[in-house]
Amino acid sequence: MSQSLIRVENLSFAHGGHQVLDNVSLNIEQGKITAIMGPSGTGKTTLLRLLTGQLKPNQGNIYFAEQCINRLSRKELYKIRRKIGMLFQNGALFTHLTVFENVAFPLREHTQLSESLIRDIVLLKLEAVGLRGARNLYPSELSGGMARRAALARAIALDPLLILYDEPFTGQDPILMGVLVKLIQELNEVLQSTTVIVSHDVPETASIADQIYILAGGKVVGAGHPSHLMQDPNPHVQQFMHGLADGVVPFHYPAPELRADLLSAPGEVND
């Protein structure tokens, strides 16, 4: 068993009186692709934010290379974040900068490289995602898939130890989905980095992940290799991996009974 890069121990997080994560423990191994999966709204993105220290847990600890993320000072946290690349759901490219400048941004911020070296690195990264020719475009001129790839180039600009992907496959056409799957796998190998994917696209994620954690209702309900999880007897895991419409995960968001809702006078708040 290889060394772990991130250890999450008994993590709990509540937001606005709602328990988002409840006693979650994970182990993310170095150099591997780990996926965190689960239905929408089970706190996957929250977990990512906790991993990067944007949120502080109510309980439990997160260790990144044996450093406890949630107890670091601001300065140390910022230092660690430079080793983490993150791909956001909608790319989050800076709209006032070109693709080239977007990818160059972290390099300019964190290194003292010469302009010609920055140019070389940026072009290499853009080549890796197939967007070298689009370097002078602005984000508004890119299609959704191109924006995501450009953002990926920016995320790997500093050769991060860890790359986090927030729903990389959502809303992509099948071809692009294939491209992204291949890219993620290649980058993980070439950069020898560790990859964490948060996703609910089962087949794509299962095809490249070494380890999958399934979250449901803020808890880890299943963990293991994809092929192993497909046969997991846990009903949560079954429902999710096989995409069943109804099961232990209810179709309805918790609500007062419909009739009570219908009969309450308009304008009243029922809670």
Binding site: R49, T52, Q54, Y78, K79, I80, R81, R82, I84, G85, M86, F88, Q89, N90, A92, L93, F94, T95, F105, P106, E109, H110, L164, E257, L258, R259, A260, L262, L263, S264, A265, E268, V269, N270, D271
Partner: protein
């Protein structure tokens, strides 16, 4: 809908589109007493949940008045619609569990929210100061490019509007005062008035208010949108401080641009007043300038200018702060942009009043 012997035939489409008409028809029906009420659906063309709800409400209404209601002739599909409704239908009105908040509770909630906002703003100001210290320690880190870009958008691009409005205000002031002064033959004192009023109050305040509307709001909208597109979060995950990257250049830019705009505004305001004085009071430019040099000293100008950096800090910090308050939706961007303008203008006037009190205590 036809009726004979208390059999009611439903005809045509009982759908949402027809709902109003059906409701009126049903309301006008009064069945004869002591006979069972039969509702027949055999001639029904279409039925949706709205129609079914209407019909079952009708039945319930008469059942509660002691009528026996019988259903007949409904097709299987239509019965399915009824069963869907019945599943959720209330047997009786549940007592309403919530009550609307009274005035005192609302006042309390608002106060708590306001206090929380104030606290958040103060800690935001704290972060700004901390990051400024960082800049002071390492001047090479100062984002000159971003600052100059912001000076361009907040300063240079505002020159025309500030100049025009200030000129017009100068004209208006001279006119209003001129009417009074002419009665006493004290024409020349229009210079004293214009000089003091524009240099001490109107120049700084009018410019600040224009910029609060123009720049404060754009700061809020820019940062708010960046928050929605997760650009702010992206900056954070790159190990950078969003305040340092986004707020400091904007504040610095306004600190530089606003005093310059104020001076421009004062010059244009005086020119406007001067032209009006000539047209109305026959006061030549020469006399105006002569009197101005005699009546207005440098102190007046400086007292007006002292307030300007404070206005700039207020406008920029409130605008950027409101930008960071944006959550989740485009509507929130609009909301916080509005708040930034309202609070900005409010704070400018309050601060100006505070300065007036301070100056009067100091005897300036």
């Amino acid at each position: 809908m036809g009726s004979s012997n208390t059999v009611f035939y439903c005809q045509g489409s009982w759908t949402q589109l027809e709902n109003t008409r059906l409701q009126q028809t049903l309301a006008s029906i009064k069945p004869q007493s002591s006979q069972p009420l039969i509702i027949d659906g055999s001639q029904l063309k279409a039925l949706d949940s709205a129609g079914a709800l209407l019909l079952s409400n009708f039945a319930k209404h008469w059942e509660s008045r002691g009528y026996e209601v019988q259903w007949s002739g409904f097709s299987e599909t239509h019965q399915d619609v009824f069963s869907l409704i019945k599943q959720y239908r209330a047997e009786s009105l549940p007592s309403s569990s919530s009550q609307s908040l009274n005035t005192l509770q609302l006042l309390g909630m608002r106060s708590v929210r306001l206090a929380a906002q104030l606290l958040a703003y103060l800690s935001f100001v704290g972060i700004i100061c901390y990051e400024f210290l960082g800049w002071c320690k390492a001047p090479l880190k100062i984002r000159f490019r971003s600052i100059s870009h912001n000076i361009q958008t907040t300063g240079t691009n505002a020159i025309f509007i500030v100049a025009l409005l200030s000129f017009l205000i100068g004209v208006v002031l001279a006119y209003q005062v001129g009417v009074q002064l002419r009665n006493y033959g004290a024409n020349i004192f229009v210079v004293d008035f214009l000089g003091i009023a524009i240099l001490r109050e109107f120049g700084p305040m009018i410019t600040a208010i224009i910029i609060a509307g123009r720049t404060g709001s754009s700061y809020a909208a820019q940062i708010g949108t960046m928050k929605l597109t997760e650009e702010v979060a992206a900056i954070q995950t790159m190990g950078l401080s969003p305040v340092e990257v986004l707020v400091l250049p904007r504040i610095t830019a306004l600190l530089i641009a606003l005093p310059l705009l104020v001076i421009l505004s004062e010059v244009l305001g005086l020119i406007g007043g001067m032209m009006m004085a000539k047209a109305m009071l026959s006061l030549s430019f020469n006399d105006f300038m002569h009197r101005f040099r005699y009546a207005i000293d440098l102190k007046t100008f400086l007292i007006g200018l002292v307030k300007v950096p404070v206005f700039a800090l207020l406008i920029a910090s409130i605008g950027t702060f409101q930008g960071f308050q944006v959550r989740d939706s485009a509507a929130s961007v609009g909301e916080h942009t509005t708040i930034s303008v309202v609070q900005g203008i409010f704070m400018i006037i309050v601060t100006d009043a505070a300065f007036s009190i301070l100056f009067s205590k100091l005897g300036l």
